[in-house]
Symmetry: C2
Subunit: 248 residues, 2 copies
């Protein structure tokens, strides 16, 4: 059995805050006794805030390009400017939606730049290096508790073909994000032909069942009982290179 | 807290089997006491087998088109023929991969036609109407136990931009597959602009953490403790119509 435990009662995170310590303190207050091999899933928004990846829209000088794209999409030109600065490529623009490839390589709407949950007149960018953020939180938890946990930084993304957003892993540390089962046999002894499961994304989605549901803003969860493969590969590995992609 | 409980010990499912009853019996044997509001996630492969959606590849007469596409992709021509018959449109062909739109409207590799876990020389198609299958299993469980559960039929799908497959919901009954939060306010009182979460897909992914991991073939799971919105909308609602899609 797997358990998904919400980490409630996390106060508003500010620039410079220690996310690892905040999680540990919240777990203690909530009576959650962390264990080795627990997976801590953390919403990117608190990581971004702690790392200072929040901009005041009033400080943004809007380029000509952003101006035009804003007119085309009906978005705030300052928001568009931040999106463009966070991107290395525009993938698609249609209606009010801008899909770009972020500096990390993620293909997503608005380069992940979010105006929600960050305060009026502000925008939260994605963490600079979410895999590094995950590693730091993991190391900090080890330093504070001696426990060896895995950490996933998650974000909510739309996707082609299907309505609604789901949570995915944009950073991770301590677990193999992709579970490669090629070579294993099926129930009838037939080799599984192309069975690579993105467990990091499935764990992120599972966590959103408690993260997303809390009105009071539960930005993290513990997943317990999932036997994952330990490893140091980053969530960056999940990103499909453009040349392998069928839809870019 | 949410619990994900594997339903182990389900025997090999055959044509005509009663999936609802099989699940109830397996839960009893495993000591899982089902409760109202539990969500039962069932892998499509056992539903397809029970509904007789399995074909012998030797019985398949291969069309010219399938022959050509097989030569192009290196696939078994009989497999390609079954893929084409299950599709209403070819979306993309690249390397050894054929992406089609299935008769249900799902955009996925091989129209979901699977050669794994079905026996040599056979192919399992997706259920004809997975929402109906979900409804039948749900009704059967209610008849047998008096319990009101929700049911999701899941399948493993690849996706653009990201490596590895994840589990998604291709059929559901008893819960709203999409959780529409538009109009709700964020932590700062700002209206959430476009917040529709595909909870059915997230539940399917969560379930695969126990379904996918079992070598002995655990084809179903119970998710307990998730407060979902009851409803009768089908998983078909999740499919984004082509005209709204940015990548078709």
């Amino acid at each position: 059995m797997i358990k998904i435990i919400p980490i409630r009662g996390i106060p508003e995170v500010k620039y410079g805050d220690d996310v690892g310590e905040i999680i540990i303190n919240a777990c203690r207050r909530e009576g959650i006794e962390l264990q080795d091999n627990d997976i801590i899933v953390v919403s990117q928004v608190i990581v971004s805030k702690a790392e200072g990846n929040v901009v005041n829209l009033d400080d943004i000088i809007v380029s000509k390009h952003a101006e035009q794209l804003a007119a085309l999409t009906g978005k705030d030109p300052r928001h568009v400017e931040v999106i463009l600065r966070s991107s290395r490529k525009i993938v698609k623009v249609k209606g009010g939606v801008i899909i770009t490839e972020t500096k990390h390589g993620l293909v997503c709407a608005n380069a992940g730049v979010d105006l929600s949950n960050v305060g009026e007149g502000k925008a939260a960018l994605l963490p600079e290096d979410p895999d590094k953020s995950a590693r730091q939180i993991r190391n900090r938890i080890r330093d504070l508790t001696g426990l060896d946990v895995a950490v996933i930084i998650c974000d909510t993304h739309g996707r082609p073909f299907r309505r609604g957003t789901i949570n995915i892993a944009i950073g991770c540390s301590g677990l193999e994000p992709l579970w490669d089962r090629r070579g294993e046999k099926d129930l009838y002894g037939r080799e599984l032909r192309s069975k690579v499961t993105c467990v990091a994304d499935e764990l992120a989605s599972a966590a959103e069942l408690v993260i997303g549901q809390a009105d009071e803003g539960t930005p993290a969860a513990v997943i317990r009982g999932y036997r994952y493969e330990r490893g140091e590969k980053p969530a960056r590995e999940i990103i499909r290179p453009e040349e392998e992609d069928m839809f870019r």
